[in-house]
Amino acid sequence: MKVLVPIKRVIDANVKVRVKADKSGVELTNVKMAMNPFCEIGVEEAVRMKEAGTASEIVVVSAGGAQSQETIRTALAMGADRGIVIQSDVALEPLGVAKLLKAVVEKESAELVILGKQAIDGDNNQTGQMLAALLGWAQGTFVSKIAIEDGVLKATREVDGGLETVALKMPCVLTVDLRLNQPRYASLPNIMKAKKKQIDTLSPEDLGVDVTPRLTVVQVVEPASRKAGVKVASVAELVDKLKNEAKVI
């Protein structure tokens, strides 16, 4: 089974995000970038499937600037087989990315697509569901457990009240949640090996996809900040303040 894992390059989760002075977006120059943490979980799951003999080949795809190559190298070092960069100078939206991925899935005849449930930059949580819709495939979103039996994939999903299990006809699209696995660190020999793995570059035009944005960003600002309050000296003082000052208990 060929598995496709779309991944995104985002600002490192530990970096404090700064809004640009002209309100056009957030500052990306000279900021540490990394693979979106949920995409790492997706790569890890695919690698485990290959180790278990369920997956035959893992292709990672990233759409964005030329530097997405670096993120693909990270995934190759974790154990993916080859990469595809879809290079675009236009800022991509989830719908556009889903259309690009659909074209790649068809070109590659992939049988399973594993994505992160959301990217921690735009926090959209859309691409996997959109890709499943465009392909006409089943979707398993926010997945924390996967089992494949007789051409049916059982996915356990993290939902608001607890867990839900669905059986999906294959091929299908999965979006993964954080408890699915703990991604590995790439070893040095694997990092060296990854340098020799193949990365192809495509453009939206090559794939025949129009990625013209549908949304206009009017402005990006810092949210209203919350002021630090007071320190209390004891539990008794805390309870008194909550009762008599804040009046919330």
Partner: protein
């Protein structure tokens, strides 16, 4: 202009976030139509018809909607969409799972998890774990939008008398089936709608220690939450998680116990009215957003708090 709300319900009644979505729809303007798609969902439809501000309720009562599978519901939304300028759903796991699938079929770029409405085409939404706020304008003919429930008050459950109309189901897609669910059983209020939330972090050290928080929760009528660190450590299930990738809460009172206050956690609770933090690390970032901070060992302070609350 008219707004179609894909209601979240359990066939017997509406889920609370649906009411917040009605308020958001009111800010968009135009007639508000609630879609109740389910199986034996007459009770939920009756509840929907009573909600203040709702003009019409569409009822799709069919076996394929019993378990709210996105593969079955999305075609129904697509079928109804041409009559509406806006399609809204709450940004719960229900709405997050379903609405992008419908949006893609409609060739619309969805706008997720909005916290504000500027006008019928323009919406405000948090990005980067709430560290920035983007205002975006949609150029699509139909706007498909999910609503951050905590950013809008719930619409009154009574006062409306909407007409009910039946719509045909769209059949089973044959793509997916529901196998089962394991819901967290709790007598406590739901995390996202509770008036008081008490959450524990990595400082709790174990799942057993969450019993201390549960006892306080029971005294206050509060819900129990957790930081991602506590979930990652296996102390509590993921549906306790408050934060960027978990739930967003905005109670009257949020009590953070042994939570350092990573930006990803703050994203899920910083709109709470009053924030209390108990942490032994004086430098913990949680104190930068707390109205009342207590620097103390939680294993002493929490039992003391329980006693003080009587």
């Amino acid at each position: 202009m008219s707004v179609l709300i894909v209601a979240e319900h359990d066939n017997a009644g509406l889920k609370p976030a649906t009411l917040n979505t009605v308020t958001a729809a009111g800010q968009v303007g135009g007639d508000i139509v609630l879609l109740i798609a389910g199986t034996d969902c007459a009770a939920a439809a009756a509840a929907a018809a009573k909600v203040a501000g709702v003009a019409k309720v569409l009822v799709a009562d069919a076996p394929e909607y019993a378990t709210m599978l996105a593969e079955n519901l999305a075609p129904l939304i697509v079928k109804l969409a041409p009559d509406y300028s806006h399609i809204l759903a709450p940004a719960t796991t229900f709405g997050k799972n379903l609405l992008p699938r419908a949006a893609a079929l409609l060739d619309v770029q969805q706008i997720s998890d909005i916290s504000g409405i500027v006008d019928a085409d323009t919406f405000v939404r948090p990005i980067y774990a709430g560290n920035a706020e983007a205002t975006v304008k949609s150029g699509d003919a139909i706007k498909v939008v999910t609503i951050r429930a905590t950013a809008f008050d719930p619409a009154p459950e009574d006062g409306g008398s909407a007409a009910t109309e039946t719509v045909e189901g769209t059949g089973d897609s044959g793509l997916s089936t529901f196998v089962g669910q394991e819901l967290t059983k709790s007598e406590r209020p739901e995390l996202t709608t509770a008036g008081i939330v008490i959450s524990g972090g990595r400082g709790m050290q174990s799942g057993e220690n969450f019993a201390m928080l549960e006892r306080i929760a029971d005294k206050l009528g509060a819900a129990v939450g957790a930081s991602r660190a506590a979930v990652d450590a296996g102390f509590v299930p993921n549906d306790y998680q408050v934060g960027q990738t978990g739930k967003v809460v905005a109670p009257e009172l949020y009590i953070a116990i042994g939570i350092s206050g990573a930006i990803q956690h703050l994203a899920g609770m910083k709109d709470s009215k009053v924030i209390v933090a108990i942490n032994k690390d004086e430098e913990a970032p949680i104190f930068q957003v707390a109205d009342y901070g207590l620097v103390a060992d939680l294993f002493q302070a929490v039992p003391e708090l329980e006693k003080e609350l009587g």
